[in-house]
Amino acid sequence: MNSSVEQFLAARLPFPGLVAWGARLPDRTAASQSYVDWLPVSRTEQVLARLILAADSLQYHQIEPVRLCWTFEHLRFRLGLRPDGVCLMLVEQNQRDYSPAAGDSAFDDFAQVMVP
């Protein structure tokens, strides 16, 4: 994984309510981490791959997403897509007092991380 991305992730994550994250670079290298026992890292990588696949499939409907949020009863899966192919996934708890602010901020800053 690219060092600037690693530095960004180490500095910004986790934040309260974050269950896991995953990131993928254009060269297909990926990194992920889980903060809970019930979601192993291997499963996190599968979720990331599934979300990216789902985002790609939207192009068949002439939809080009820059950010997606899959809301389930207990979890929210959020995926940010940069024009250069870098992706960041955040898995957050969907609590009653859920606020997207921390995740939004992470996505906004992630969009500016330089990836050579």
């Binding site: 409907h61 809301t71 389930f72 024009p83 996505f107």
Partner: protein, 357 residues
């Protein structure tokens, strides 16, 4: 003791046919034995001037008039003279015209028959309407009032009423019975979906009418929770659009080679009005219940089915619970795909002027 003199009923007839107005004035003056005070106007300008001079019990409008037809004038009167009794008098008898006029607040829709029987029928209807005992309470206009506030007022007072809402081409009704919201309808939508769509409107007009039973009760639960849910949905939509503005700024910066990571992101632009471009509402079985602006209903239905399938695959990977919705932010706007057991909803919107997929 002398008998009390009956109040003169004030009527205003608006018709571009001067001969008809002359005839009406003569005939109805005679029929009313002088108890009617009849004014006439040949166009909307004269009518507004007459109404400014003296309030009328009833305004009678012809449908076909140049410049501003009767229907347009009826809508204008709803805004400028809320509560004004307006009767449409026209030679058109088709159901569509009748329904449109009554939906727009006409008290009566009468057929213009130029026969003695026809005039008698019109006279008796207008006389009864003008003589109806006015309802107690105030009548007027409230400006810059949220629908939530009106609903809260009605529910807190344990009132029974029907709240009619008009906003552009959107219109709907919310039925309140004994302080509880029991039904809502907006176009083809009914129930809570209709309620939330009406409460999401950014502006328009409303009219509180006396309660009439709805075709069926589709909403239950306490009004506080319904209003809170409507507010939550509205807030989420606004936050997502604002996040989109920020993301759009960031994406532009990151795609420019000279812009380094230390450069501060551009502040998000103020949220512009959200314009809904497409709506598709299907039943759980896939039957289309409501559609607006969809270039291809099949394609959008297919998208909803695809998302449902993908959500199921995610659920198989992680114990996430029941799937609710997918929100998609594009550079051109926002898409929400909601999958519920009994309905599937696709909504595509964006700030006005932005190109959307």
């Amino acid at each position: 003791m002398p008998a009390e003199t009956p109040r003169r009923k004030t009527m205003l007839f608006v018709d571009d046919d001067a001969d008809f107005l002359t005839g009406v004035k003569e005939i109805f003056s005679g029929m009313s034995s002088g108890t009617w005070d009849i004014a006439t106007a040949e166009n909307h300008s004269q009518a507004l001037a007459e109404l400014a001079r003296q309030a009328k019990d009833v305004v009678v409008l012809d449908f076909n008039m140049p410049v501003m037809d009767g229907l347009q004038f009826l809508r204008l009167l709803r805004r400028t003279h809320p509560g004004q009794q307006v009767v449409m008098l026209t030679s058109r008898t088709d159901d569509a015209t009748r329904t449109t006029c009554l939906d727009n607040g006409a008290a009566l829709f009468l057929h213009k028959l130029l026969t003695p029987e026809g005039f008698e029928g019109v006279f008796s209807a207008l006389d009864a309407l003008a003589g109806a005992v006015p309802q107690t309470g105030f009548r007027g206009m409230m400006r810059r009032v949220d629908l939530q506030e009106v609903l809260q007022m009605e529910c807190l007072g344990r009132k029974s009423s029907v709240l009619e809402i008009f906003a552009g081409k959107s219109r709907g009704r919310i039925f309140i019975h004994d302080g509880a919201i029991i039904h809502a309808e907006s176009g083809a939508l009914q129930g809570e979906v209709a309620l939330y769509s009406l409460l999401a409107l950014r502006g328009g007009e409303f009219n509180l009418q006396a309660f009439t039973p709805p075709p069926r009760a589709t909403i239950s639960g306490q009004y506080e929770f319904l209003l809170m849910e409507a507010a939550r949905l509205s807030d989420e939509g606004t936050q997502f659009i604002q996040a989109g503005a920020a993301q759009e700024s960031s994406a532009v910066l990151s795609s420019e080679g000279d812009a380094g990571p230390s450069e501060a992101p551009a502040p998000p632009s103020p949220a512009e009005p959200i314009v809904i471009h497409e709506v598709l509402l299907c039943s759980g079985a896939g039957e289309v219940l409501y559609e607006k602006g969809c270039s291809s209903v099949e394609q959008r239905s297919g998208l909803l089915a695809q998302i449902e399938q993908q959500a199921e695959q995610l659920s198989n990977l992680v114990p996430a619970g029941r799937f609710d919705r997918l929100e998609i932010l594009t550079l051109g706007g926002q898409i929400i795909c909601q999958i519920q057991p009994h309905l599937r909803l696709f909504v595509r919107g964006g700030s006005d002027g932005l190109a959307c997929p």
